[in-house]
């Protein structure tokens, strides 16, 4: 059964099986690294760290594997289950296939946080949520404190608690995103500090901020949840994962010469079957050889033994696995043992403690490839339309399967300044034949949960239960209006645009117990942006107009009206007249002197 499932769904099932086999192991700490080369000279590195703490010692604040800072935050905010994600880049599903962990360990671009909070009412839950975000913001050096009521939603069907919670808890799910947050080294350092081995031993010693945040896609996650066994023993489980897709060529660049340079013309392998009209053009040919790489080259450092907290029995000590065909040659350090798995593509390594481990793969012609599954669903979301006032959203769902329809929940949380018109929600189906069919949205959308925005208080929350028929593409569109913000509500870089959080898609797959998650990319929304010197201009212009009008009226009221010649007579009396008179007198005297001298 296991073998069959591995063959049918190798990638996903491998991770799942590894996860499940270890989840109920006796070990309190477990770490695992999976390396898999992906097409287009990419390499997926998937790190996983998991530890358990008994519920009792958690309640008494005796922390061993669970970091004390995080544990205290959870207790202070009455948070029973926490999921925190830091993500950058885009997962290229077209070439890389389905996501690692079925997308359950990744977040939308930026920072995403959702938690189940135990509180008697909605308001108390929100107060606890604010405490939670403020504390996490300090712990992870992220701007999570900006997750306010406008960025907080309470999804109804998109998420479900993955831990085992007691029925007595009144749990409230709150979800917040920061799509504009730039995830970087300052978030990795606190993340590493949470690990028992602190990046000093074991697979975490491979982490280097320069490489991790240089990846084409990376996602860091922290999940904390209570897990109860059948006999009622409960543990608090913390699971940290880091998934990244590295470009092998890019990562192999030396630190001293990091500027990418184009491949010299003579080294380019061009597709000679294509017609060329000049010498300087080239259609590059897909490489016939797999890239050579080693851990030290890719990560810039070698793997420093094993974290001694892991149990040294059973399969849990094979902390590094590699997915390449078995005929592929792999060189490893001497002290380590290689164990080949039956599926023909996986081999794991048993590492010697406190001895550096390296793994290198030479260049070799490709004969067999590790089969990649087709993702269950492709999704893509863009903003369409033009102008500063209105726009539209277009979401494209593609179902690659020829046989079965896909049912899923589509969850969107939109900022309040984007005002969608739900009545304009339309659907188009493109079938196998490429013919467009306009259908009423109700035919595709089975259920809708819509919570409209309130200006400056909360954002729009839209959850749709959709179904995409086999071998077809569904395009959903709706129009929206862009709100005009107040002067002080614009951020310093207003002309960059405003981030719209990625949509979350939860696929209800009957075959798997755990749902599959897909997240779209985040969007940039251009809002009408004023010239920010405007208020001063307005003040000065209106002041001038008022002053002009006032001056005229006041002068008419208080000035004396006389005839022109009378004015000249009066003028002689005024200050100006007297000064002029003096000047004339001085000139006359000077002239008089001049004539005398002559």
């Amino acid at each position: 059964m296991r073998v069959l499932s591995l063959l049918s769904l190798p990638f996903v099932a491998l991770i799942l099986s590894l996860w499940s086999s270890a989840a109920f192991a006796s070990s309190d700490y477990h770490e695992h690294l999976l390396l898999q080369p992906l097409p287009q000279s990419s390499l997926l590195a998937s790190f996983n760290f998991r530890s358990n703490t008994s519920q009792q010692s958690f309640d008494q604040q005796h922390f061993r594997y669970l970091p004390r800072a995080l544990g205290q935050i959870l207790q202070h905010a009455h948070t029973k289950e926490l999921h925190l994600r830091f993500t950058t880049g885009r997962w290229d599903a077209e070439s890389w296939g389905p996501r690692p962990w079925n997308g359950s360990k990744e977040g939308g671009t930026g920072v995403e946080l959702w938690a189940w909070i135990d509180a008697p009412g909605d308001e108390e839950a929100f107060a606890k949520w604010i405490t939670l975000t403020q504390s996490l913001s300090g712990l992870f050096c992220a701007s999570l404190n900006f997750v306010d009521s406008t960025r907080t939603t309470r999804p109804v069907v998109s998420f479900e608690p993955s831990g085992d919670h007691s029925a007595a808890d009144q749990l409230h799910l709150l979800h917040g995103t920061l799509p504009g947050e730039v995830v970087c080294t300052e978030n990795l350092t606190p993340f590493l500090k949470l690990l028992p081995c602190k990046g000093k031993a074991g697979i975490s010693s491979l982490f280097d901020g320069h490489k991790l945040f240089d990846a084409a896609w990376q996602s860091m996650s922290v999940d904390i949840q209570p897990v109860c066994s059948a006999d009622g023993e409960c543990v608090v489980q913390i699971e940290q994962t880091v998934d990244m897709v590295l470009d092998i060529d890019r990562s192999k660049r030396s630190r001293s010469n990091p500027i990418p340079r184009p491949v010299p013309n003579e080294q380019l392998v061009c597709d000679t079957s294509k017609p060329y009209n000049a010498d300087d053009t080239c259609y590059p040919l897909e490489k016939a050889n797999d890239k050579a790489w080693s851990l030290t080259e890719i990560f810039g450092r070698s793997l420093n033994g094993v974290c001694p907290l892991t149990d040294s029995d059973g399969s849990s000590d094979q902390s590094v696995c590699l997915r390449v065909p078995h005929e592929r040659g792999v060189f490893i350090s001497e002290e380590a043992d290689e164990i080949k798995k039956e599926d023909g593509f996986t081999r794991c390594f048993k590492l010697a403690p406190s001895v550096p481990f390296d793994l290198s793969i030479p260049q070799q012609p490709v004969n067999t490839e590790v089969p990649l599954d087709e993702p269950v669903l492709y999704a893509e979301r863009t903003i369409v339309g033009h102008g500063q006032e209105r726009g539209g959203m277009r979401i494209i769902f593609g179902n690659p399967s020829n046989t079965s329809a896909v049912d899923f929940i589509y969850f969107e949380s939109l900022p309040w300044f984007l005002r969608p018109y739900i009545h304009t929600l339309h659907a188009t189906i493109t079938g196998h034949d490429g013919v467009l069919r306009k259908v009423p949205a109700s035919e595709i959308v089975k259920e809708t949960y819509y919570r409209p925005a309130i200006d400056r208080e909360r954002g729009t929350q839209l959850e749709l239960a959709l179904s995409v028929p086999a071998a077809s593409t569904v395009t959903l569109t709706y129009d929206f209006e862009k709100a005009i913000l107040r002067y002080t509500e614009y951020p310093p870089d207003a002309n960059r645009g405003f981030n719209v959080a990625p949509a979350v898609i939860r696929i209800l797959d009957k075959a798997h117990n755990a749902p599959i998650y897909i997240r779209s990319t985040s969007l940039l929304l251009q809002l009408p942006t004023p010239d920010f010197s405007m208020p001063y201009n307005v003040i000065i212009l209106t002041s001038t107009v008022i002053a002009l009008a006032f001056g005229t009226i006041f002068n008419i009221l208080v000035r004396r009206v006389v005839s022109l010649d009378e004015a000249a007579a009066l003028g002689a009396q005024s200050l100006k007249g007297r000064v002029l008179g003096k000047l004339v007198a001085i000139r006359d005297r000077l002239r008089g002197k001049g004539t005398k001298v002559e």
């Binding site: 005796h62 004390r68 010649d565 009396q573």
Partner: protein, 566 residues
């Protein structure tokens, strides 16, 4: 034409005299026109003064609740309250006649008053019958429960006759507030004598018991400069050092016990048992003063800071040593996760450091000590567990630290905790030390809340542009009322209640001083407002002011003309 109607035409006529030109002077203004102009200018200025100015004043003024500044300054200067500490000491004389006991009490009290040089802190003796002394412990627990009823009993002195003694001797119970004095029956003072060796002995014993407390309170009340004259310099220095080391008083303290080791072992410890065994009883005893939370953590791979000096190997001691002056750099604050606990109140950190096998044993160079205290922060203990040989021939730390091996460390930690909380080192009885600590805390809080009031008063007076919200006024009045309540409780000898009031006063004082909305004063400096409104005020203001000046000049000229005419 030349004489009659005021100033307007006289210069004109003069000019005519100066310049014999063809230009014709205008006819004199009619009084009606002059009147109209006057009215126009007056009307504009009336609008500005009676409408514009009040509106501007009203819309730009800031709310400043009235504070009892004088009272606050009085508290800060110590004029409002002079804290006194009358300690009630019960004298139990189970085997004496009542008149004998009365006499003994009088003479002892007299001797005590003669000995005492610090009037704010005095001991008052009181007779009790023998039956209550037997249930002394229940009594004290009840008095904690109902602090409003009577003054707290500081100490019970039991006088017990014992045959075959040359002189009296005393024994202090370490776990209760009871002092037993054994005396030879022959030394019971006779009513005729004015003093007796027994009363002198009792007085000297009590004086000795409360000597440090008295010196400490005198030190606090005198503003940390000079204590009592009789205090020895050694004791004065001790007190000063202890006060500087101890944490600021808080309602809740978070105790954080951390195991740090530079390698991977030991990775577990019997922390739960150790806390229950060594820390919990102490916290139980300290609970009337403050609340405590306890959390623990294990941190592996905790290296020294790269800039910190490395330990050196001492051949003579066969140990690695740290220099005393380098101890301040021992804690790697940048990398070790010692962030304060979440929630109100300060965190006291206790670090158990197990050195790497290659650097074991690790000691402090100068005094061979394995622990030290970091003032107002916590304590460090270097634990050097016995090393075991590994298969590879190296040596390693044990993987698990048992409760027994944690014993010395936690004894040290509890001692450090008492010091950090400002508990005095004498007398030997812990309940007495805790009582002393209640009085010291009450005095400190009273002073600090009063000082905060003074600072607030000075702040509001020196910064006229900061707003004072109503909540600050409420907090201030709560503080002042609790301060006076605390002062009264002190006078009555109800120190527990005094501490409770002083705690409230301190909290409220801090809240009023750190009110957030009082900080927002510098958002719009007046220069900015002027810069924004100058384009409006300039062009409008100039004609108005010039018109007003002309009109005033005219009126002044007419007055003068009238004066000369009459």
């Amino acid at each position: 034409m030349m004489t009659k109607t005021g100033d307007q035409e006289s210069p004109a006529s003069a000019s005519q005299v100066d310049q014999p030109s063809v230009k014709r002077a205008p006819p004199p203004e009619t009084p009606a026109a002059v009147q109209t102009r006057f009215r126009v200018i007056a009307a504009f200025w009336a609008v500005i003064i009676f409408l514009g100015f009040p509106i501007w004043w009203k819309t730009t003024s800031i709310y400043r609740a009235s504070l009892p500044i004088e009272e606050m300054v009085d508290w800060a200067d110590g004029k409002a309250c002079r804290p006194v500490f009358p300690l009630e000491i019960h004298l139990a004389t189970p085997s004496m006649q009542s008149f004998e006991a009365q006499h003994l009490l009088r003479t002892t009290q007299h001797t005590l008053d003669d000995l005492n040089e610090f009037a704010a802190h005095h001991l008052r003796l009181k007779l009790t019958n023998g039956s209550t002394t037997a249930h002394n412990s229940e009594d004290s627990s009840e008095s904690v429960k109902y602090p409003a009823e009577t003054a707290d009993t500081a100490l019970t002195v039991r006088l017990l006759p014992q045959d075959g003694l040359a002189g009296p001797w005393s024994e202090l119970h370490a776990a209760t507030t009871q002092l037993d004095i054994f005396y030879p029956p022959s030394q019971v003072p006779v009513p005729s004598s004015s003093n007796s060796p027994l009363s002198a002995f009792i007085a000297a014993e009590l004086q000795r018991l409360y000597g440090e407390e008295k010196a400490t309170i005198a030190h606090i009340l005198s503003g940390n400069t000079a204590g009592l004259d009789s205090t020895s310099p050694q004791l004065a220095e001790d007190i000063d050092r202890r006060l500087r080391r101890s944490m600021k008083y808080a309602e809740t303290y978070h105790l954080s016990f951390s195991l740090f080791t530079p390698g991977s072992e030991p990775s577990s410890w019997d922390i739960e048992a150790a806390v229950n065994e060594y820390v919990s009883p102490l916290l139980q005893a300290l609970s009337p003063i403050s609340n405590f939370t306890v959390d623990t953590q294990v941190q592996l791979y905790a290296n020294f800071a790269p800039t910190a000096p490395k330990p050196e190997y001492d051949e003579s001691e066969a140990a690695w040593t740290l220099k005393k002056e380098d101890l301040s750099a021992f804690v790697n604050a940048a990398e070790w996760p010692l962030n304060p606990s979440i929630g109100n109140g300060p965190t006291i950190n206790f670090i158990l450091y197990v050195p790497d096998p290659s650097q074991s044993p690790l000691l402090v160079n100068e005094n061979r000590a394995s622990s030290w205290m970091i003032p107002q922060w916590g304590g460090v203990f270097l634990l050097n567990p016995p090393l075991s040989n590994t298969e590879q021939g190296g040596r390693s730390n044990p993987a698990h630290l048992s409760q027994d091996s944690l014993g010395p460390a936690f004894m040290t930690f509890s001692h450090q905790l008492l010091t950090l909380l400002g508990t005095p080192s004498t007398p030997a009885s812990l309940p007495l030390r805790l009582q002393t600590s209640i009085r010291i805390r009450a005095a400190t809080l009273l002073l600090s809340a009063s000082a905060t009031m003074g600072s607030l008063a000075r702040l509001t007076e020196s910064l006229p542009s900061i707003p004072i919200p109503a909540t600050v006024a409420t907090s201030v009045s709560t503080t002042l009322s609790h301060l006076s309540a605390s002062c009264v409780y002190l006078r009555e000898g109800r120190f527990g209640a005094a501490l409770a009031s002083a705690r409230v006063a301190e909290t409220e004082a801090e809240r009023s001083f750190f009110e957030k909305s009082m900080v927002g004063q510098v958002y719009f400096p007046d220069e900015h407002k002027v810069a924004v409104y100058l384009p409006l005020l300039g062009p409008i203001g100039v004609p108005l002011v010039v018109g007003l000046l002309k009109e005033l000049k005219r009126i002044a000229g007419r007055r003068k003309a009238k004066g000369t005419a009459s």
